[in-house]
């Protein structure tokens, strides 16, 4: 138990030090994502799959790099296509979760996408998204449009994107038992590299939830 508390404490500390400014949270579970850093697998990372609307317009590589570790390189060559790396995760109803994605986004639009299923894997009306936008290398900047007017980020370094969400529904719909966690490109020419995807059950600081 002490080891667990210590481990959770350490995880919480890591969460605070590495996360974007967010509500303060406590991690109350271990990471729920299998092979979160893409370190295991033969031809493709174990426990992950790709969903591409048109494989021919995507470059997908699993990179093993001495400096950057393992990561997925995802590039879309067409503007009308989406492509994601994804994994299904069992979740509890009503609780809060934190999704942390370590990525490098250097072009176009991305999406962190959570989609819900029931226990029989039937899709439900649960769809939570965090859109990402990059204007790195956008030819409009700086001469045609000042970067201050641009949506998104010009940050092409590795960074953590944090997405806190509650597995609940206030419209009376069924809450999912399974979530499909997907990260990738949303209908633009884009380049995204993903180093890790992790998810924890969390408790928000000040929350009276048990």
């Amino acid at each position: 138990m002490k080891t667990v508390i210590l481990a959770v404490g350490l995880l919480t500390l890591c969460g605070f030090t590495s996360a974007e400014p967010q509500d303060k949270v406590t991690l109350v579970s271990e990471n729920l994502i299998k092979n979160p850093d893409f370190s295991k697998g033969n031809d493709f990372p174990d426990d992950w799959s790709m969903m591409l609307t048109s494989p021919d317009v995507f470059n997908v590589k699993w990179i093993h790099d001495a400096n950057n570790g393992n990561y997925i390189y995802l590039e879309s060559l067409g503007a009308d296509y989406s492509g994601y790396i994804m994994q299904k995760v069992k979740v509890k109803k009503g609780v809060w979760y934190r999704l942390k994605v370590c990525l490098n986004h250097s072009m176009g639009r991305g999406l962190i996408w959570l989609y819900g299923y029931d226990g029989d894997n039937k899709p439900l009306l649960f769809d939570h998204r965090k859109y990402l936008s990059s204007f790195v290398g956008n030819p409009l900047v700086p001469h045609f449009v000042r970067k201050e007017l641009m949506n998104g980020s010009e940050d092409a370094s590795w960074r953590d994107e944090i997405f806190d969400f509650q597995n609940s529904d206030d419209k009376g719909n069924i809450q999912p038992s399974i979530l499909r966690v997907a990260v990738g490109i949303y209908f633009t020419n884009a380049k995204i590299m993903i180093k890790s995807i992790e998810m924890w059950e969390i408790k928000k600081m000040g929350s009276k939830e048990k």
């Binding site: 048109s54 494989p55 021919d56 317009v57 060559l77 067409g78 503007a79 009308d80 176009g108 639009r109 859109y131 936008s133 204007f135 290398g137 956008n138 030819p139 409009l140 001469h143 045609f144 449009v145 000042r146 007017l149 641009m150 949506n151 998104g152 633009t188 020419n189």
Partner: protein, 880 residues
């Protein structure tokens, strides 16, 4: 590999000992590597090589400045041959610039071997101290694979261009290499320009192509219930061609076969096309009749390119009659089915060349061409690089092999074959031959065999591909697609002030305009609806596109070193050239709003325009310093406004340092056009300004004025256009007088006038709906009544348009004109008559008047994008 490398170095040393001439070496795949033949051929003359039951014959042809080598290969062995032909060009000292067909690398001091597959022009160049060496394919080559490298050895550079060829037993195939070398080159574009000059037919739409291919394109333009308004909308927008999603799509069946047809399901109406669903039950004959009506209506204004996909086939058909065509990848597997939006079912990749699918497809394309007044075909997904490893390869040429020795052919070889097939279909009665527009090519082969191409993105998406794709497309029309809806998430729309919004949109428009001019890419209709500046650009862009975008700008800026890559995204001055000797345009623009000024040296001698005098197309005077091989212009660019110069005359003899101020008035239909030339100093005796086809109006010692008469006139002048008033938005006091026989023979001429005002009033009230959704909103009460010429009602109508000779004789009996629009104004009435002649038809005159009337009754749609409401621009027109 070690054995291979050692032998390769030996051959290289031998090449360099022979010095300047390129060499051809042959490598053969044996076991698991490429092994060079001991034979090497010094490319100075034709000849033959034989080894291992493979015969190679080499023939040289001089094609202008390019050396062309036809390499014919025959495999007489009992097993497949896998060969790599390496053309090696010694280039001299290292440290120069290597262009690999796609990107450049400067200061090359060690070997560069790029492994990119896409967007590559099939040639390479090395430039050092003004000397350019180039090697590659001539455009008639069909090949699935080439590789290239810039090899550096002991400080010396050799360009290598490798062509991979696989031949089955008994097969014959051929490729065409080119090599080129010259002094005085600025950069790699010199090689591409020479390829254009040597093989011009490969870089233009084929002879007989509908010339509207050079214009503004779009899709989902049609409207079944609003055919006459469709005609007017196309006219208003300057819409030239349609990517025509036809009414029946079953992947793999292009002209419906009875055995696949279901009457209960039928075909798609226009509304159904938007949803991808068949919604009109009927027979094949019904489909044919409907299609013909729809294409006929579109064809009045726009060239209709019939949509199809070559390499996708219905999964059902691939289990049945087309089972031979099922695709195989390198693992022998068929890529999984995808649910196609165009076909209500699953489709898969299939081989469309010498297969049952391919044979039937070509037969059906010929039937489509025969039965419908289409301008040609619209090919989607013309990527070109996907590799086929299946059993039908034995029937194909253009094959290659991969790094594991496995033989394949790219889909590009199939696309090229089928594009050529449709090009060679017989001409229609109106003289048109089928052209093809392709969408989103990734490789050179489809574009070399097509007639136009789409950049299916906005100009700010993958801007790094604009130059490479444009170079591959040559002088063929190329289009921006998508429209400004792609900007939905581009700016922080919710957080911007009104001024910031305006600033951002202006920047986006300026970038679109300048990119269009830099690369000769014409924005599709989605860009101009609601954007006045984009609409205003189109006429000049179309003119320049027809003159032909050129790879080599042949313009230097005084005091600046020519850049290694003139098309680099971060260049601070954008220069482009269109046309050559007789018709030449130069465009200069500065992306920085602060602008730039300087002297542009136009190297006219390099493109056959020696002595050229340029003028600003906007009519402002420009001082030219004319020399024999160059014309120098001072320029001042600011506020991201482009300077577009058109060659308007020639100074003969060009001489030296002749300073001439030149201007040419903007062409306004119905008015004469004037070109004025003023010598800034006394010209040398015998020097004259030549302006072909324009009569000289006046001439003094220092000034010459030429004037071109208008091809038609407004009589007494065009001032009456301002007096044209139809009425208000509820009723009109206007009519058309025409005899029934004329009306029957010229229905569109009458219809345009009949609906003009109704279209305008109804559309400005509702600028955003699609045409198809406007049906309930037209107002027939404000359509012009069509009356016979002797109708008594006409006397009491304020505005009367008079069409046809019979009506003119009754209502304008004293008028005797040709090529004229006559207006007779009296206290009560404005009578307008149209008098055709040898220059212009009556229909043409009506179109000219409508265009003038559009200035008083303007409509170019309204902005329709997700971001528009936030910017308070929904339905409005934006002008900078």
């Amino acid at each position: 590999m070690k054995k291979f490398a050692g032998t390769f170095l030996y051959i290289t040393a031998l090449s360099m000992a022979i010095a300047a001439s390129p060499t051809l070496s042959v490598l053969e795949w044996q076991k698991d590597e490429l092994v060079p033949w001991p034979v090497e051929y010094n490319l100075t003359k034709a000849g033959n090589i034989h080894r291992n039951n493979v015969s190679i014959s080499l023939t040289k042809t001089q094609v202008k400045q390019i050396n062309e080598w036809r390499v014919v290969v025959e495999n007489k062995d009992s097993k497949p041959a896998r060969l790599c032909f390496r053309l090696s060009m010694p280039c001299g000292d290292a440290g120069g610039v290597f262009w690999d067909g796609f990107q450049i690398k400067t200061g090359v001091v060690k070997t560069v071997s790029p492994k990119t597959e896409r967007y590559i022009f099939p040639a390479v160049a090395y430039v050092n101290e003004g000397v350019i060496s180039g090697a590659g394919y001539a455009p008639m080559t069909i090949s699935s694979r080439f590789e290239r490298s810039c090899q550096v050895n002991a400080g010396k550079v050799t360009l290598n261009f490798d062509s991979y060829m696989a031949l089955d037993q008994g097969q014959k195939d051929e490729i065409y290499f080119i090599d080129y070398k010259c002094n005085g080159a600025s950069d790699y574009t010199e090689l591409v320009e020479q390829v254009y000059l040597s093989y011009p037919e490969w870089f233009r739409p084929a002879a007989g192509a509908d010339q509207r291919i050079y214009g503004v394109g779009g899709y989902f333009f049609s409207s079944e219930n609003n055919r006459e308004y469709q005609m007017e909308e196309a006219r208003r927008y300057g819409f030239d061609w349609e990517w025509y999603y036809n009414c029946y799509q079953k992947a793999g069946n292009f002209y419906p076969k009875q055995e696949l047809w279901e009457d209960a399901k039928g075909y798609k109406s226009e509304a159904g096309s938007l949803r991808g669903k068949c919604d009109r039950p009927g027979t094949i004959k019904d489909w044919r009749d409907y299609n013909k009506t729809r294409i006929d209506a579109g064809n009045k204004n726009a060239a209709m390119f019939y949509y199809y996909l070559q390499q996708y086939c219905s999964s059902e058909l691939l289990k049945g009659p087309y089972a031979d065509a099922i695709w195989q990848n390198s693992e022998g597997k068929a890529p999984g089915p995808v649910f196609g939006w165009a076909d209500e079912g699953n489709a898969q990749y299939a081989w469309p060349l010498h297969s049952k699918l391919g044979n039937d497809m070509r037969e059906q394309l010929a039937m489509l061409w025969r039965d419908f007044p289409i301008a040609g075909f619209a090919l989607d997904c013309a990527l070109g690089h996907t590799k086929y490893y299946g059993p039908l390869l034995k029937n194909e040429t253009g094959k290659a092999f991969d790094d594991h020795g496995r033989i394949y052919a790219t889909e590009g070889t199939a696309l090229a074959y089928n594009l050529d097939f449709t090009r060679n279909l017989p001409a229609k009665a109106d003289g048109r031959k089928p052209a093809s527009v392709i969408n989103e090519f990734y490789t050179w082969l489809p574009m070399f065999h097509a007639d136009g191409g789409i950049h299916e993105m906005s100009p700010f998406d993958r801007a790094d591909l604009l130059a490479p794709r444009r170079l591959i497309a040559g002088q063929k029309p190329y289009y921006f697609w998508k429209g400004f809806r792609a900007a939905d998430t581009l700016l922080k729309w919710n957080d911007l002030t009104v001024a910031e919004t305006r600033e951002g949109i202006t920047g986006i428009i300026d970038y679109t305009l300048l990119s269009s001019l830099r690369f000769g890419i014409i924005p599709a209709v989605f860009y101009l609806t609601g954007f006045a500046d984009i609409k205003a650009l189109n006429p000049v862009l179309k003119t320049m596109l027809k003159a032909g975008w050129r790879a080599a700008g042949n313009v230097s800026i005084d005091g600046r070193k020519d850049p290694a890559d003139p098309f680099a995204l971060n260049e601070d001055i954008w220069i482009s050239r269109y046309g050559n000797a007789d018709e030449s345009y130069i465009v200069l623009s500065a992306p920085d709003i602060k602008g730039m000024s300087g002297k542009a040296i136009i190297h006219t001698g390099k493109f056959g325009a020696s002595g050229a005098i340029y003028a600003d197309i906007n009519g402002k005077p420009i001082i030219n310093e004319v020399n024999t091989n160059e014309t120098v212009i001072n320029f001042e660019l600011k506020n991201r406004e482009p300077l577009i110069l058109g060659k308007i005359a020639v100074l003969n003899p060009a001489g030296k340092n002749n300073m001439i101020e030149a201007s040419c008035s903007v062409e306004i239909p119905g008015r004469p056009q004037t070109a004025r030339f003023r010598f800034m100093h006394q010209p040398v005796a015998g020097t004259e300004i030549i302006k072909d086809g324009w009569p000289r109006k006046s001439s003094t010692e220092n000034e010459v004025i030429f004037e071109k008469a208008q091809c038609f006139k407004f009589i007494p002048n065009d001032g009456f256009v301002a007096d044209i008033v139809f009425g208000d938005n509820k009723k009109i006091d206007a009519a058309i007088a025409v005899d029934p026989e004329y009306r029957e023979k010229n229905p569109d001429t009458v219809k345009h006038l009949e609906i003009y005002y109704d279209y305008y009033i109804s559309r400005i009230a509702r600028p955003l709906p699609r045409l198809a959704d406007m049906t309930p909103y037209w107002n027939k009460k404000i359509q012009l009544p069509v009356l016979v010429p002797d109708s008594k009602e006409l006397k009491n109508i304020k505005l009367v348009f008079i069409l046809g000779e019979k009506a003119q004789k009754i209502l304008m009996p004293d008028a005797n004109y040709q090529d004229a629009i006559l207006c007779i104004k009296n206290d009560r009435q404005l009578l307008i008559g149209f008098f055709p002649g040898k220059n212009i038809s009556e229909y043409g005159l009506v179109m000219q008047l409508l265009e003038r009337m559009d200035e008083k009754y303007p409509f170019i749609g309204g902005i329709n994008a997700q971001w528009a409401p936030k910017a308070k621009l929904s339905g409005k027109v934006f002008k900078k």
